[in-house]
């Protein structure tokens, strides 16, 4: 029901308890290092770090796999593109394609790099509640407030959007069913006909969403919300010794990955 990126596995592991900001900084730094370094040895170091973090998180493989699955095509495509088009001494040719060991190696490297990136990124999204993550991002984005970027309001917007995605999907399904019951057909005809078939679905969905926005705004005001107010949080972001350790370990891993 939810996009893979927002998939959160509630838990109480060491990784879950780390501060969202520390995790985000660590993951971003690792991702950058991953792209700077272009050797299998470096990749191995980052992969090992990712696997250890994953094992510590206690997230079931099935959840992990769900985050991975949608990206398999992307990874496979990257591999194929590199194998087919990378330059190098061919050991096998077919039509316009040349297969070279160097190309194969490069393709494998790029695909593995993507795999490691998804691994590390998934540990973050699987162990961090979306709310904590948006709060963390809002905190990290605070310097932007000086440029009049309303970071807290943006974070709240993202939270609300995530909250309503499942609701919206259910409504979309209901409206499509209702119009199908009146004879609407969404699956045949050319692209223009199909696009036109969506009018009876999208119109009510928009109307519903606008009404929702109105009612939600009212309910928020009724609970004393006003844009620009200073809010506290039920679960304040709290960095502890663990987060310092995380950042230190991350620094060490990056150093190792870049130097091996």
């Amino acid at each position: 029901m939810r996009p893979a990126i927002a998939q959160y596995y509630p838990g109480d592991s060491v990784i879950h308890r780390l501060d969202a900001r520390a995790k985000f900084v660590a993951v971003t730094a690792l991702a950058v290092a991953l792209f700077v370094r272009d050797s299998f040895a470096g990749l191995a170091v980052f992969a090992a770090a990712g696997v250890i973090a994953y094992l510590l998180s206690g997230v079931p493989v099935a959840w992990f796999w769900r985050a991975f699955r949608p990206l398999l095509w992307l990874i496979a495509l990257t591999f194929l593109a590199q194998v087919l088009f990378a330059p190098g001494e061919p050991f096998f040719s077919f039509w316009v394609f040349d297969f070279s060991w160097a190309g194969l190696e490069f393709a494998a490297f790029l695909s593995l790099r993507l795999v490691v990136l998804v691994l590390i990124g998934s540990v973050l999204t699987l162990t961090t509640a979306p709310l904590a993550l948006t709060d963390g991002l809002a905190w990290l984005g605070r310097p932007l407030r000086r440029l009049r970027v309303p970071t807290d309001e943006l974070a709240l917007m993202v939270t609300i959007a995530l909250r309503f995605i499942p609701t919206l999907l259910v409504e979309l399904d209901q409206i499509m069913r209702a119009q199908r019951a009146r004879g609407a057909d969404f699956s045949t005809g050319g692209p223009i006909r199909r696009a036109r078939a969506l009018v009876p679905v999208l119109t009510p969905l928009f109307v519903l969403s606008f009404r929702r926005a109105d009612e939600l705004a009212l309910a928020m005001e009724a609970r004393c919300y006003r844009p620009g107010i200073v809010r506290t949080r039920l679960r304040p972001l709290k960095a502890g010794a663990g987060d310092a350790v995380l950042l230190a370990v991350t620094a060490a891993v990056i150093a190792a990955g870049l130097l091996v």
């Binding site: 909250r163 609970r223 004393c224 506290t232 039920l234």
Partner: protein, 287 residues
């Protein structure tokens, strides 16, 4: 505002005082509220009834400080003047409003975060929020659902969560705008159970509804028609005026409905029975 501070000034007898209240929606040709009067005191449970479009929801919004009245001779909620911007903002802290659609009131990704939302907006310290949220969760039987996502809740659970969120902010008045209209009987019973205890705490409750069964327990019934009060008084008195109830497009409790049909056929039951027990008794059947 600090968490423990109940407002320290004198508690006025009347928490809501409204006289000659008027409101018109932009672009509308008639007033949604046309000279409405209403007074509600602490500890009072007032049912407000009226057909769709009679102005009930508009009234609920104005009482909660969420809409600016067009004009009023008096419009005071918990001592705050609803005609001024500052007064409305202050009223929002003391007058809670629960709306009809449970889905469109929940903001946060899980139950306890949603209950905390109002307190976060009032910048309570996190430790105090935690205490108050736990108290609300326990009171509305939500403790086990605390980490549940809103879209996985039943209608009744959603509405209880919304109610807990409204009451997490300490209130003196609670306005409920048809809180059971979109719920199934089970959800409706849940919400009514949750509302039942509120009066005992000295909260003034304004309960807007079209369900006549829910009106029966109220201290007072107020009927609206075209934005004005056409009846204010005992619940029984409202039903006694069967013609009025029908003219307003409202329904009677089933027992009253049958009694009116009987009256039309020449068999008059006085006073109008409102429950099955009363009807059985009035029909002269003793078990």
């Amino acid at each position: 505002m600090t968490p423990s501070a109940a407002p320290a000034r004198d508690v006025p007898e009347a928490l809501l005082q409204i006289r000659d209240l008027r409101y018109r929606y932009p672009g509308a040709s008639v007033d949604a509220l046309a000279g409405l009067d209403l007074t509600v005191s602490a500890g009072e449970f007032v049912a407000v009834v009226g057909a769709n479009g009679s102005g009930k929801s508009t009234l609920a919004r104005i009482l909660g400080g969420l809409e600016k009245p067009a004009s009023a001779a008096v419009a005071v909620a918990c001592g705050h003047d609803l005609l001024t911007e500052d007064g409305r903002m202050a009223a929002r802290r003391e007058v809670g409003v629960l709306f009809q659609n449970p889905e469109n009131q929940l903001v946060a990704e899980c139950v306890e975060d949603d209950v905390a939302f109002g307190l976060e907006n009032l910048a309570w310290p996190p430790a105090d929020i935690r205490l108050r949220v736990d108290e609300m969760l326990a009171r509305f039987w939500l403790t086990e659902l605390r980490t549940r996502e809103p879209h996985l809740l039943s209608g009744g659970q959603k509405q209880r969560t919304a109610l807990a969120g409204v009451l997490a902010v300490p209130r003196r008045v609670l306005v409920l705008d048809e809180p059971t209209a979109m719920l199934d009987p089970a959800g409706r019973a849940e919400v009514l159970d949750a509302v039942r205890g509120l009066r005992a705490e000295g909260l003034a409750v304004v309960y807007v509804t079209q369900e006549m069964d829910e009106v029966v327990g109220a201290d007072r019934a107020v009927a609206l028609d075209h934005g004005a009060v056409v009846y204010s008084g005992a619940v029984r008195g409202l039903f006694g005026e069967g013609d009025l109830v029908r003219r307003l497009g409202l329904g009677l409790p089933a027992a009253g409905d049958l009694a009116l049909e009987l009256a039309a056929r020449g068999r008059r039951l006085e006073p109008l029975p409102l429950t099955l027990d009363e009807l059985v008794r009035d029909l002269g059947w003793t078990p």
